[in-house]
Amino acid sequence: MEETIIFQLNGKQTELKIDPTQTLLWVLRNNLGLTGTKFGCGIGFCGSCTVLIDNEPVRSCSTTVGDVKGKNVVTIEGLSKDGELHPVQKAFVEHDALQCGFCTPGMIMNAAGLLIKNPAITREEIITGMEDNLCRCGAHVHIIDAVEAAAKEMKGGK
């Protein structure tokens, strides 16, 4: 059964008439054209579909669109502000924290969520916090370096 679902998406109020049991990942990708959020496994085990829901990193493949009713959803497309990259995005570019780039949006969203929760995050905590996001190309060391650098920059009040 279709319902009207209203939520904040990348800072804009979004209204959909949709079956609330539809998977958020595919609603974002197909209905809303936001293809930055990637499909990797569909069961919550790779992290490539990570988005922020009320500032919390969540696997959109294991969330329904009904779950985000009234909530605030941010995808990789909504992370930069006024054309200015988010510190985590900037750090990924500076540290070349990617190769094929397919895991990248999920990595960045997960890291952004970690930094909101814990701005004084340590390297160890970054590793633990990123542990369930998979990257096959092996960009791991650069990813951790990038998140650490972003944390420093954000703490520096920028």
């Binding site: 293809t35 990637k38 569909g42 990924f92 500076e94 094929c100 996001n133 998979l134 990257c135």
Partner: protein, 718 residues
């Protein structure tokens, strides 16, 4: 637009290997100066006959186009799958054409406008394709100098080029830019005077480190991969799959599935696809399909496969042999025999195989995550009996390939469903599709018997590889009496490659380097020598010796009086695609839990000329990181044709906490031709950890991966 033509060498044959008329090509790419280029040495580009039927075109092919604004478009059938050729090729072009790097635009993997290519695999791009591209650039520069010479009325020899501006060396004010020369023209040039390709050492960009140039669009989500594309009327497909690899469809009832709103079900022989504009609905409709299969019985599983491989009636091809093995063994003081088991592995790239297929009138366009767009174009043209020039394959960004995106099954499926339904079809394999139908790293067995004399010199080496090929088993140590034998599938015997197999990053070399280096280490023990000293004593390849010494220096390796030393330090080395690697690792073993922690890995690599040291280092680190999954976690579990690992819940790959400090050195070999960089560092990781485990505990493991259970078992036996 003026139309000029000089030195036309096309022998009445107006169609090239894209199957396209040349004037159509102009229509597609527009005006400017286009340099058609005749590859001089086709073997350089396609060194092996497989996997295609075509070879690099014998007729002219466009490689470069210079626009009115001075932008240089470089067309290549190679694809970017994360390995960074998108930047290293730009470096090469910028140097050969004397233009700033920002002026070079790569156009990749579109069969309609890019010259034919054998595929992006085998780390061939820089070492084999590079030289051809460099000649194209040198030819282009020749054309530009000729045009400039006419325009400025200055002999070409007197002209110099800086940043895309050609000027008179005697009168620098007299100048013209590449863009100005291209303006208002449509020129096609065919040069076949062999141009001078300048020496790499004179270059500005080659040999310097550059970061990726595609990261900005990859961090914002803008970069488009196949699955991100959309065309009007496109339907998502889900495919009906059997529960076992041996399943053959006997009956299917999809009447319930068709009741899901918007669903179309199409069948083409064994292929049944459920199509819907909405991916989730396609998925739900698929669940409503009732199908029956017949299954062939397959006896083996992932545990018994190794024994079956040894017992099978297989071929025995001697690949290399020298000296006299029997006599060699007589000279030996000690003989060691080793048997190694290496399992099937998935490619497990995060982007699953994807393809979008669209028929429009008499034309088929397929966008696909593929390492081999031209092979796909051939396959599609064959399958649908269409002329080549009516089939276009385009490869957007690819989310990891590692050899696994070379067979294009998903693209064939998408195209067949598009044909059957009359709609554009997007097929994104599920992870479960991927883990059943990937073409896996093959399982294999090695049996090695070898011996040393009283001096600690290797006198005999009898090496047998079963079902896993011999890449990487080349003789790099001094082994006067040796024999390398490959045993493989014999016709009319049951298939033991239960899972479909294909190239997996440095295909087969992981297995062979693992085997050789564990065996060499065991010989060091037999000789009561430190493993570094034993290797240095027995190596004969000077590049390998230098590489090993570089690794030892970087590590700060101190030879030990006894081996195992208890320090947990291991050494391994090998060669792949012309590149030499040596690795030294330090580990810690938790004897209670069986867990191994890698503390440090040092890698030295001699890859000849290195175009982009930073990019090469990223590849090297990526290889080592990926290999940690292979070393500690990865193994495809199956029973008969039933694949048990269907997703990342049970098929584990490298995670952040497993990755140690990785230090590396790329040897300075600017005077040498470039070799491959996308694969070599992966080959030695299994052995380096295995040898470090022995150094820590005195125990050995001969089966991959080194899971805690296998560690505990090995410790018990030791």
């Amino acid at each position: 637009m003026k139309n000029e033509k000089t030195k036309t060498h096309v022998s009445g044959k107006d169609k090239d290997r894209r199957g396209m008329e040349r004037r159509d090509f102009f229509k597609l790419v527009g005006g400017g100066i286009i340099v058609f280029f005749l590859p001089r040495c086709t073997t350089e580009s396609v060194p092996v006959a497989e996997p295609g039927k075509r070879s690099l075109p014998k007729d002219y092919n466009a490689f470069l186009k210079i626009d009115e604004d001075g932008t240089v478009h470089c067309y290549t059938g190679k694809i970017e799958q994360g390995q960074g050729i998108i930047i290293s090729l730009v470096q090469i072009m910028a140097d050969d054409l004397n233009v700033p790097m920002e002026k070079i635009k790569m156009v990749m993997g579109d069969t309609e406008i890019c010259p034919w290519d054998g595929g992006t695999w085998g780390s061939l791009t820089i070492r084999s394709f590079g030289p051809n591209m460099r000649r194209a650039a040198a030819e282009a520069k020749g054309v530009l100098l000729e045009l400039a010479s006419n325009k400025l009325k200055v002999p070409a020899s007197q002209l110099v080029v800086v940043d895309g501006v050609i000027s008179d060396s005697n009168n620098p004010g007299k100048s013209v830019t590449y863009g100005e020369l291209a303006r208002g023209r449509k020129i096609d040039k065919y040069l076949d005077v062999k141009p001078e390709v300048e020496d790499y050492s004179k270059f500005t960009f080659i040999g310097k480190s550059f970061k990726r140039n595609d990261s900005k669009i990859k961090v914002t989500g803008e970069a488009k991969y196949t699955g991100d594309l959309k065309v009007p009327g496109m339907l998502f497909a889900r495919i009906l799959r059997p529960a076992s690899l041996s399943g053959k469809l006997s009956s299917v009832d999809y009447s319930e599935a068709e009741k899901v709103p918007g669903t179309i079900v199409v069948r083409d022989g064994d292929l049944v696809g459920v199509l819907n504009e909405n991916f989730v609905l396609a998925d739900r409709a698929l669940e409503k399909v009732k199908a029956e299969y017949t299954y062939d019985e397959i006896q083996v599983d992932n545990k018994t496969i190794f024994e079956s491989m040894l017992k099978a009636d297989s071929t025995a091809d001697v690949e290399t042999t020298a000296g006299d093995l029997e006599a060699g063994f007589k000279l030996c003081d000690k003989i060691v025999e080793t048997e190694i088991h290496d399992p099937f592995l998935a490619h497990a790239f995060i982007e699953t195989h994807s393809a979008l297929a669209q028929f429009e009138k008499d034309k088929l366009t397929v966008w696909a995550s593929s390492q081999t767009p031209y092979l796909l174009q051939d396959a599609l043209a064959n399958h649908f009996s269409m002329p080549l020039n009516k089939v276009r394959v385009i490869v957007p960004f690819v989310g990891g390939g590692f050899g696994g995106k070379s067979k294009n099954q998903q693209a064939m499926e998408a195209a067949r469903l598009a044909k059957a339904s009359g709609k554009p079809v997007m097929l994104i394999w599920t992870r479960e599709d991927e883990f059943m139908y990937d073409n896996f790293h093959t399982a294999g067995v090695l049996k090695i018997k070898s011996g040393i004399d009283k001096e600690g010199l290797i006198k005999a080496w009898d090496y047998h590889a079963y079902f896993c090929g011999t890449r990487g088993s080349e003789i790099i140590y001094d082994m006067p009496n040796h024999k390398i034998t490959s045993h493989d599938h014999k016709e009319n015997t049951p298939r033991l490659h239960i899972l479909d197999i294909g190239p997996w990053r440095a295909p087969n070399n992981n297995t062979n380097t693992l085997g050789r280096e564990l065996q060499i280490d065991r010989l060091a023990v037999a000789a009561k020598m430190d493993p570094l000293e034993f290797r240095l004593k027995n190596l004969k390849d000077q590049r390998m010796i230098d590489t090993l010494k570089a690794a030892a220096d970087l590590f700060g390796y101190v030879p030990s009086k006894k081996y195992p030393s208890g320090r947990g330090i291991g050494i391994a080395l090998g060669t792949d695609v012309g590149t030499h690697v040596a690795e030294i690792a330090e580990i810690e073993v938790d004897k209670k839990t069986g867990r191994i922690k890698v503390k440090r890995i040092v890698c030295a690599q001699d890859m000849g000329l290195c175009v982009n040291p930073h990019g090469a280092t990223m590849q090297l680190e990526g290889c080592i990181t990926m290999a940690l999954g292979y070393t500690f976690k990865e193994e495809m579990n199956f029973e008969g044709g039933v694949v048990k690992d269907l997703n990342f819940d049970t098929y584990e790959i490298t995670r952040f906490s497993m990755v140690p400090k990785i230090e590396s050195i790329i040897l300075d070999r600017m005077d040498q031709p470039p070799h491959g960089g996308g694969e070599p560092a992966i080959i030695a990781v299994g052995a380096v950890i295995g040898n470090a485990f022995f150094d820590a505990t005195g125990a050995r493991m001969f089966q991959m991966p080194y899971t805690p259970e296998r560690v505990l078992e090995a410790l018990k036996k030791a």
